[in-house]
Amino acid sequence: MGILLFGVAKDIAGTPKMDLPEHISDVGALKQWLYNHYPALMQLSSMMIAVNRSYATDGQAITAADEIAVIPPVSGG
């Protein structure tokens, strides 16, 4: 399914969608990978990862079959 990017995270990465990088098997490792490749993401006041449409903690395992999303600070309403 790959990784969806929204809002300013999409602007920083320059794409709304990417494949899950190889050797990344949990949420914490994905965040670290994203910060390494797109350091501007560290300037966000928060960056959550959603797995299959629910907010996930760093320890949650992920695979290429999951719908993963990068969620910068929300601003609905």
């Binding site: 969806l4 929204f6 809002g7 300013v8 959603a50 449409r53 629910s54 907010y55 999303a69 969620i71 910068p72 929300v74 601003s75 609905g76 309403g77």
Partner: protein, 132 residues
């Protein structure tokens, strides 16, 4: 509790009122969020609302579940607009009907506060001065 959850291009207060209307309820509390013509002192031309729709709907249902568990609310409508919105347009409507007005205020305020914290919707602001 009956729940109406909707994310779409254009929303109206009336559809929320129509949904929560019930002769069993005596008190209705409605919150509407409209686009302001300025923010932090800068003139606003428009906002663009982007949405991770499948997850946003799921998070809105979680809020509704929490409202149902916490208060004796009969009807809850949660509507959010997407796309380009201009000053005066409605971005969000929360409408709650209950037999008792105190809990209707509490549930309505909880719902909009939590929506703004957890529901994956993002606004991008376009200013009169053209800068980001």
């Amino acid at each position: 509790m009956d729940v109406l959850i909707s994310i779409k291009e254009t929303i109206t207060v009336q559809e929320a009122l129509d949904f929560i209307q019930s002769p069993e309820c005596g008190g209705e509390v409605i919150f509407t969020g409209t686009i302001r013509n300025h923010t932090k002192g800068r003139g606003v031309v428009k906002l663009f609302y982007e949405c991770y729709e499948a997850m946003a709907i799921s998070e809105m249902h979680k809020i509704a579940d929490h409202v149902k568990a916490q208060w004796d609310i009969k009807k809850l409508a949660m509507l959010h607009a997407t796309g380009d919105k201009y000053p005066g347009d409605i971005a969000v409507v929360i409408a709650v009907a209950s037999a008792h007005r105190g809990i209707a205020f509490d549930a309505c305020e909880y719902t909009i506060d939590t929506l703004k914290e957890t529901v994956p919707i993002w606004k991008k602001e376009f200013f009169e001065d053209g800068r980001d």
